[in-house]
């Protein structure tokens, strides 16, 4: 028996970095509030780079990192499972046959998560490298896939941990220390050069993967997003609406709703907000040309296109559901004023994007006592 380097350093670093990023992505995806989306995205981009590296390493890494060395014959996987039931499975130098399939499954799930995540980001938030390509409905469907893949990965991680437990505790194969030190006690190493750590090659491949993905992603992200357009807001619109409340992005109501609001200004939610005919006509034209129907954004689909009896944005089911957890006191803070001032928290409200990561909840410690839900 001899101590031999089985898992090269780049592979071990990949494994533990992936553990960290998946943990961050999992926590920010399942538990943390929507405003933490930028951390989730950061973890997702990091995962994309790690994945690209791992795929390349599966071809160019050391022997046991290469996909060609994976024992993927179905028969050996069944044999391994059978021997596990008899509590007598042999130690494998590299991956065991079930573990190898596990890795393939995890890599596919991660790939699905990264891709579906980018599609959601592009379709629903009109952001990221696929913002120019994906429409809202596609992003909506990808969100379901993203969630399924996330639960699939959670399950796969559970099975993986169970496998590690069985190997390490029941069969007493030191697989955990092997993933830390890289070394296993083996009778013979299969490939030459297995003792080398492959540091330089790993660093080079990782750098290439990072540069290519970040550069390419940035380039794609700079293409204007489909479904969202910059709007030239006339000064008169910002001034007239903005005297009393946030001057809403025109994509937040349909053209018909805007017509209703503009024709009812003499009793505008309990106040006379009437305008002279010329001003009203200019604002009406701007609203009609940029109403919800002309936008393919999350805000335009989930609130803008939903007409309400009161004509209010805040009466749409989506608005109500998304703001249900926010204490009344938050809306009454002087920096917000009331529920109708989107820009109190949505720093990108003027653009009509309402991206999750641009939500900036005011300092909650300023809340008067008892107003927190």
């Amino acid at each position: 028996m001899a101590k031999v380097m089985i898992w090269d350093l780049p592979l071990r670093l990949f494994h533990w970095l992936m553990v960290a990023t998946v943990a961050i992505a999992g926590i920010t995806g399942f538990v943390a509030p929507a405003a933490w989306l930028d951390i989730h995205l950061f973890a997702g981009y990091a995962l994309a780079i790690l994945l690209a590296f791992r795929l390349a390493w599966g071809v160019l890494g050391s022997y046991y990192s290469r996909f060609r060395s994976f024992p993927l014959a179905p028969r050996s996987a069944f044999r391994h499972l059978r021997s596990l039931l008899r509590n007598s499975a042999a130690a494998h130098t590299g991956h065991n046959p079930v573990g190898a399939w596990m890795i393939i499954a995890v890599l596919f799930l991660l790939l699905a998560l990264v891709l579906s995540g980018l599609i959601v980001l592009g379709g629903q938030e009109n952001l990221g490298p696929l913002g120019f390509l994906v429409d809202f409905q596609t992003g909506w469907r990808a969100a379901a896939l993203h969630e399924i893949a996330a639960w699939g990965l959670a399950g796969a991680i559970a099975v993986h941990l169970l496998g590690v437990f069985v190997e390490a505790r029941l069969l007493r194969h030191p697989v955990v220390s092997a993933m830390i030190t890289g070394n296993k006690l083996v009778t013979r190493a299969k490939a030459k050069g297995q003792g080398r750590s492959y540091k330089a090659r790993g660093l080079t491949l990782f750098t290439i993967a990072a540069l290519m993905l970040l550069g390419g992603g940035k380039m794609l992200a700079s293409i204007p997003a489909s479904g969202w357009k910059p709007v030239q807001t006339p000064a008169v619109y910002s001034a007239e609406c903005g005297d009393c409340h946030d001057a809403y992005h025109p994509s937040l109501r349909t053209a018909a709703s805007w017509r209703g609001i503009m024709s009812g200004l003499s009793d505008h939610y309990g106040e006379d907000a009437s305008l002279d005919a010329e001003t009203a006509a200019a604002m009406g034209a701007f609203l009609a040309a940029n109403a919800a129907e002309t936008f393919d954004t999350e805000a335009a689909w989930r609130m803008g296109r939903i007409d309400t009896k009161s004509l209010r944005i805040t009466d749409t089911p989506y608005w109500t559901a998304r703001h249900a957890g926010i204490a009344d006191g938050v809306f009454k803070l002087s920096s917000v004023g009331s529920k109708v001032n989107c820009n109190g928290c949505h720093r990108d409200a003027a653009s009509g994007r309402f991206a999750d990561q641009d939500i900036h909840l005011p300092n909650l410690s300023k809340l008067p006592n008892g107003s927190q839900k």
Partner: protein, 146 residues
Amino acid sequence: MKIRIIVPLHPKLIIAVLALSLLPIQGSASELRQQIIAGFAQDAKLKNSGFAGFSAGRGQTLFLSKPATGKPDTPSCTTCHSINPAAKGQTRAGKEIAPMAVSKTPERFTDSKKVEKWFRRNCKSVLGRICTALEKGDFVTFMSNQ
């Protein structure tokens, strides 16, 4: 031949020039306000030949009164503007309103279109009718002294 222009850049001169350049702006704001008040005076005289000028006191009474004859959510001017003309107000939608007092907000009552728009809207919201020229003149006179 060389032409030399000598400009004596004495600090006191610079201050004097800056102060002079500010004067016309100061003057025009109060001038514009006086013009608006003069317009109200003309209308008030047309309606009542016995019109004897505006009164800041009447303006204050109007501002602090609670007529509650307009829309239910706005029983008085002070609902939104707060009871102190020098303090900031808040719209019902929660947006800040600059103080009404001219000493705090010098550009108040200098744009006649804006003045007419807000009197039209707010008199209807608070009083349930349009304001008379006398009321408007009293109101602006009161706020100009604040």
